[in-house]
């Protein structure tokens, strides 16, 4: 039997008491195998961040348990959690959260030093890792001198430096353009497959679904059946196929957020479906850029 890297068992997280109680996550279970890439998607306020915080031992579940490499981390004392986070988790944040005063190499080496490596060993290990990730020319740069993609690669190196079994990534492509975002996701997939590390990603980004082994949909604090998403060719909104208004035309099915969009689609005589498809692809491209206006977590 393969040992699971992460085994989340029926966890619930409730904030507040009585009438003011809010249940952010309810009865969620999730098993992640070594080398598996799991993508958790869902609308804002669905509980993604709360779930990620609990999986990362940053927040305790109100009920249920979380096991990492066979150890129930949700039962460990607060004093033991920093060591777990340091050695068994790798975190990747949307905003990178690199230390602005330290160089690229120092940012990565610091985490290794915190885990007990001697400064010189940590420095050498960080240099090797960063060079492997294509940052060999940037070792002594400050983060402010890097592009978004480079910053995220530094964050990935920092996440990998202590050889964690699980990498948790929070909206890793949100501040990156489409091309760089895909590069980063392919890099994460390569890390998972070549090094046998599990990767759990929380994201709104539909375009990174292809790199995941599994895609889960979190809504109202619970995993729901996975829906197939489509893009409204008129307004560009992501819609669930099963719930959307649809229209067949020239042998193809189009999905709309509302009857208004469908009416506009049908009224567009002369442009024809091809025009809308082109429009849709443009709209998809536009929505694929980082959602800078909607950064709010759950």
């Amino acid at each position: 039997m393969t040992t699971l890297t992460l085994d989340v068992r029926d966890i619930t997280k409730q904030f507040g008491d009585g009438d003011n109680a809010v249940t952010a996550v309810r009865g969620v279970s999730l098993a992640v195998a070594p080398g598996e890439v799991v993508l958790i998607m869902g609308p804002s306020g669905s509980g993604k961040t709360t779930l990620l915080s609990m999986m990362g031992a940053l927040l305790r579940p109100s009920s249920g348990s979380i096991h990492l490499d066979g150890t129930e981390i949700s039962a460990l004392s607060e004093g033991r959690l920093p060591a777990i986070r340091l050695r068994q988790f790798g975190f990747i944040f949307q905003d990178f959260n690199l230390l602005s005063a330290l160089s690229v190499r120092e940012n990565v080496a610091l985490v290794a030093e915190l885990a007990g490596l001697k400064a010189r060993v940590a420095r050498d290990k960080a240099s090797t890792l960063l060079t492997d990730l294509g940052l060999g020319e940037r070792l002594d740069f400050l983060p402010e001198k890097l592009s978004g993609g480079e910053k995220q690669r530094v964050a990935i190196a920092r996440a990998l430096i202590n050889d964690p079994s699980l990498i948790l990534a929070d909206e890793p492509t949100a501040n990156l353009d489409s091309k760089i975002g895909h590069e980063i996701m392919r890099l994460l997939r390569r890390v998972a497959k070549e090094q046998g590390r599990s990767v759990v990603i929380v994201s709104h980004d539909q375009r990174i679904r292809d790199i995941a082994d599994r895609v889960l949909w979190l809504e109202d604090g619970a995993f729901k059946d996975m829906v197939t998403m489509a893009t409204d060719p008129v307004c560009g909104m992501a819609v669930e196929r099963e719930r959307a208004v649809s229209q067949d035309r020239d042998g193809e099915t189009y999905f709309f957020c509302s009857n208004g969009c469908r009416a506009e689609f049908l009224a567009a005589d002369g442009q024809g479906p091809r025009g809308w498809i082109r429009a849709a692809s443009v709209l998809i491209s536009r929505s694929s850029t980082p959602d800078r206006g909607g950064r709010g977590g759950d």
Binding site: S53, L86, N97, L99, A101, L110, L114, A119, E171, R295
Partner: protein
């Protein structure tokens, strides 16, 4: 270098304006304290210069008199012979002493006036830079600093002990911020004070190999009505008197320096921590323990204060050098004890300044790093 120090140092260097404000504020606050202590210590040293340079191993005074400054000591002149007969005494020489003013034209200055017997072996001016070191009737040797300020030169008349005396010599190293030393003949001094057969102090040279402290004790045992102290003990009493007189001023200025230094460092370290709160949150999320983060904050405070201390010390040294180039009879004496005290001040400032930021970090939720755009 440990990760704590590296991060603390880089955090400080990352914002040079903040670093300058912090280090500059501490430097000014601590230099205020160091300079003031140095001034008083310098004055105390200057006031004991005569005691240190008079050449006596033991000072014998009227019973109960333990220092020179602002005291009156009168002993029968027979005491000198009594002292000479004590075991361990190689030589004894009387002096007359009074705190008085010397005046030349409109210039008046406070002075220790010393009445010296002819060919006195002890108590003489040790560095006469102009004129003669021999005193005759109606003659005086004054400090050259006073002479310069008063426009007096060899052969001019000055007023001392209520009479006129002709300047025959200018001595060096006999002035302080508050007074100078003037020398007249023993006979003139006695005559100006009514001719009573008294002396103020008996200066004693001990025999080779004898202990000044033991000889002083023996003098007190054998000669009635005197207090005898070794030169070192006498000088300590003199310094203590000056430091006691200035203790309140020093305490107030220390408190001001401490408060200013603390306020500056506390504010800058707090602001620096606040500005990097998200980074500290990220470090917590990554697994850094609180004690590491506390160490970074404390190290920043310590580095700021240590740099401020060094800059403040250098600044005080510069002031000292600058003062030495002026006509002021001021000598800034930066003592090891003073530095140790100010260093302790600085350490306490660093510790206190780190408390608030440490409390801030202690309450920081590491999960905050997942809250995008959240106010931290």
């Amino acid at each position: 270098m440990s990760a704590t120090w590296v991060l603390a140092r880089r955090n400080l260097a990352g914002n040079r304006v903040r670093l300058l404000v912090s280090v500059g504020g501490v430097a000014l606050a601590l230099s205020l304290t160091i300079a003031l202590e140095a001034i008083f210590a310098g004055v105390a040293n200057q006031l004991t210069t005569y005691v240190d340079r008079a050449g006596a191993d033991v000072w014998v005074a009227q019973a109960g008199v333990r220092n020179l400054h602002m005291v009156a000591s009168w002993l029968p002149d027979s005491v000198t012979d009594q002292v000479r007969s004590v075991d361990g005494v190689a030589d004894a020489s009387p002096i007359l002493y009074s705190t008085d003013t010397i005046a030349a034209g409109d210039e008046r200055a406070v002075a220790y006036v010393i009445g010296l017997p002819p060919d006195a072996a002890m108590g003489r001016p040790w560095n006469v830079v102009d004129g003669s070191d021999q005193l005759g009737p109606g003659e005086v040797i004054v400090d050259r600093g006073f002479a310069s300020q008063a426009g007096v030169s060899i052969g001019d008349e000055v007023t001392v002990l209520g009479g006129e005396a002709r300047v025959v010599g200018l001595s060096d190293g006999t002035a302080s911020l508050v007074n100078s030393v003037a020398f007249v003949s023993f006979e003139d001094f006695a005559a100006m004070r009514g001719g009573a057969p008294v002396v103020s102090f008996v200066l004693v040279k001990v025999a080779s190999g004898a202990s000044p402290e033991e000889v002083a004790a023996e003098i007190e045992r054998v000669v009635p009505g005197v207090t005898a102290q070794s030169r070192a003990a006498f000088a300590v009493q003199e310094r203590r008197l000056v430091m006691d007189m200035s203790a309140d001023v020093i305490a107030i200025m220390n408190a001001v320096g401490f408060a200013v230094g603390l306020a500056v460092v506390a504010l800058t370290v707090y602001v620096a921590t606040l500005a990097r709160r998200r980074e500290y949150g990220a470090l917590k999320a990554l697994g850094a323990r609180n004690r590491f983060l506390y160490g970074v904050v404390l190290s920043q405070a310590v580095l700021s204060v240590a740099l401020g201390f060094l800059v403040g010390l250098a600044f005080t040294e510069l002031i000292s050098l600058a003062v030495a180039q002026t006509d002021l009879n001021l000598d800034l004496a930066i003592s090891a004890a003073s530095l140790a005290k100010v260093g302790l001040f600085a350490a306490v400032i660093a510790g206190l300044a780190a408390i608030l930021p440490i409390r801030q970090i202690a309450g920081l939720d590491p999960a905050v790093v997942f809250r995008k755009g959240a106010a931290l």
